[in-house]
Amino acid sequence: MRLAEPADDLTPQSGGTLVRRLESDVVTLNPVLATSTYDRQVDNYLFTPMVYFDQNLRCIPALAEKWDISADGKIYTFRLNKNATFSDGTRVLPSDVIFTLKKIVDPEMEAAQIADGFEELDLANTRVVDDRTVAVAFKKALASQLIRFNNVLVVPEHVYGKGNFKTDFTSRAVGSGPYRLVRRVPGQEILLQLRSDYWGPKPYLQNVLFKVIIDATTAWNALKHNDIDETMISSDVWLRESRRPELVKTVDFLRFYTLNYNYVAWNERNPLFADKRVRRALGMCIDLPSIINNMYHGTARAMNGPFTPDEWAYNPAVPVLPFDPVGAKRLLNDAGWFDSKNTGVLERDGKPFKFDMYVFAGGATSLTFAQLLQEELKKIGVVMNVVTLEPALMFQRVLAGNYESAYIGWNLDPDPDQYVVFDSKSFPPRGQNVVFYSNPVADQLIEAGRAELDPSKRVKIYQQLNEVLAEDQPYTWTIQVSVKWAVSKRVKGVKIGRGWGLFTWYPGEFDWWIPRDQRIHDRPALAQVPGTKR
């Protein structure tokens, strides 16, 4: 007999292998070029951002242990953690930070997702202060600037500065995160291993294996068969499975809201949707309460504008658009649309009210939603064609403003700045005002909101903006669906971050652990030399 630590469910034990589901393979492991949330899910283990978000999405130290913001809000001085090293053993230097920022704003790199937050970066005045301090300068003070540094996953210049930055690092990674890359098999799996020389507080898990499982049903079955430890699940699976006694014994069912919402985008370049009465009328044909109750079993909530109830910018006094087809028809009549020829289809100047709505192919809930709207609109004399498009193609068309209407969603930043999506200076292709919404009042509020550094004044500005946008209905905001997750009960330490869910806040996934006697995914080969066949 050997002595052992007392085993219990409260004291985290180091070691073990976690198997995570990756809904879609990463496009690249280069964190500067990351485009999807899946990329970030993996990058978070391999790289460290300048600042982490805590459970409430406040900025806390990460690579930077301290920072100062100059009085005019234009200079951010970061002091790096002196112990911070990359996985090749070299120290993280201020020059690496500047190198990473340069790559982010380099238009040739097309780091679109991250570059948006650094449009005002002033590279000429950004400089190394001493061997662990860097001063980052901006041309304009923005209230949302600090949180953007959560997207700055610093890469070492001496590695990423050589070769082709765009193509050489899709399956290679050298970062300052707690894990290092053991192997990536594109389309199949990514294996990470805890760094023995990690400079920060060490996470508990020895290995993290990402398995690419695109299909939701397959993933849910894989979880039930213990092939994976966690997966997102659909509302229907949640309703039918989360109360089954034999599953509740082995699976934790978690539910939470994240920062995202769904909406219908009405392209205002199309004469049909230029009139806000028309947009409002179409939105009034969506029976949100019925959708929430019947499709999501009450696990979704109606949106009144671009802010979720979890955000401080949210204005609870703004009403949600009611379901009122009769009122909708009246509004359309006011806007000049009548069924003058008794064909059952509304017309104006001899033209029938007819349009296309794009939805994602394969997105079953989008298709369901679109068909419900289609059926309601048919009753009031509006013909809506549902066109399913492959996701990449749909993104491309919508982001180029090349569509009539579309049912899509946004994942939101923790900051409520709406410049990129609703300001009239953000029309595609430069910005993401994909509906071509333009209202001087809204523009003024948006610009005041991002420049205002006083939090209490910002709240007022955004609440007012919420009202203006709800009145203009550039989108028909629909619902925010709560995310449902299934995590194996073997995994301990799982916590939910406000608005961010299970991952990519701190400590988040770094707090997860698996008791020694429940490590079913450990295989001897994993501990051996990287690249050994299992």
Binding site: A216, T217, W220, S234, D236, V237, R240, E241, D287, S290, I291, N293, N294, M295, A361, G362, A364, L367, T368, A370, Q371, L372, Q374, E375, N385, V386, V387, T388, E390
Partner: protein
């Protein structure tokens, strides 16, 4: 065997000797009839009292009961009504696509077989080019390029599956173009078009009809596959494949969404295959 019996009558009597094939034929006829009168029997006031597109979220994903005999789908639409209307779409696609491939295939095959030489060379290379591409990917490509609709799918299927027909017809033409009746037609001064379409084609078409019945089955299956991949007929139109594609994510608890459309596709495709098989045997003089 009486000499007065025509080829068609002979084939028919041979065909009917197989009970399975007869049953399959009856089944297909019944399905086709139901499909033809779908709007009459499945609407708010019909025998099946539900509009195929009428949504009812409060009753979504309900198992079969006395009201909804085959249950409801994810939008609360009556599955039976959608199955009946779906038969229309699936059969229409199967038959029209096959007709298109028959026309294109026969025409090109006839040209190649009759004229030979450079025409034959061109048609044969064209066949090879089309065959180079995997069938489903070619169809996917065409459908994705244009808008997925009933007609796009029919045409895409028709324009990608004519190669079999073309090769059959070409082979037959090579065989019969030098036979006496063809030479007689030529000697009497008939124009090429008349010889091809009046004299040769009717004598070459029988084996092609066999492949056509397999073609219908194939087209129904391909439409299902396209719908399953989200490139089928536009919503809310029901086809068996589109019903099945919705079923995929509810497979764990909505068996009726999988079983009924699956069964419909399976039985119809099997029936067409049995018919084609028997038809081939019946046409074969050596089978006596």
């Amino acid at each position: 065997m009486s000499a007065s019996q025509s080829m068609a009558a002979l084939t028919w009597s041979r065909f009917c000797r197989s009970r399975l094939a007869t049953a399959a034929l009856v089944y297909v006829v019944v399905v086709a009839l139901v499909a033809a009168i779908a709007p009459l029997i499945a609407n708010e006031r019909g025998v099946v009292p539900f509009d195929p597109n009428a949504t009812d979220l409060a009753h979504r994903l309900e198992p079969p009961d006395s009201q909804h005999h085959l249950g409801t789908d994810d939008l609360g639409r009556d599955l039976l009504s959608r199955m009946i209307h779906g038969a229309r779409v699936s059969l229409a696609i199967g038959l029209t696509a096959t007709l298109i491939s028959l026309i294109v295939g026969s025409f090109l095959g006839a040209l190649a077989g009759y004229y030979g030489g450079i025409v034959d060379w061109l048609v044969s290379r064209l066949i090879e080019i089309v065959l180079c591409f995997p069938f489903l990917f070619l169809v996917l490509g065409i459908v994705a390029l244009f808008r997925p609709s009933l007609w796009t799918i029919m045409i895409a299927l028709g324009l990608t599956s004519w190669t079999t027909e073309a090769r059959f017809i070409r082979g037959e033409f090579l065989r019969i173009r030098e036979m006496e009746f063809a030479q007689a037609a030529r000697a009497s001064g008939a124009r090429d078009a008349r010889i091809i379409f009046r004299h040769l084609l009717p004598n070459a078409v029988a084996p092609v009809l066999v492949s056509a019945s397999f073609g219908v089955a194939n087209a129904i299956l391909t439409e299902s596959a396209l719908s399953f991949l989200g490139l089928g007929v536009a919503v809310p139109t029901a086809s068996w494949g589109s019903i099945l594609s919705i079923a995929e994510q509810y497979i764990d608890f909505a068996w009726w969404l999988v079983l009924f459309p699956g069964l419909a596709i399976f039985t119809t495709v099997a029936a067409f295959n049995v018919i084609g098989d028997r038809f081939r045997d019946a046409l074969d003089p050596r089978s006596e």
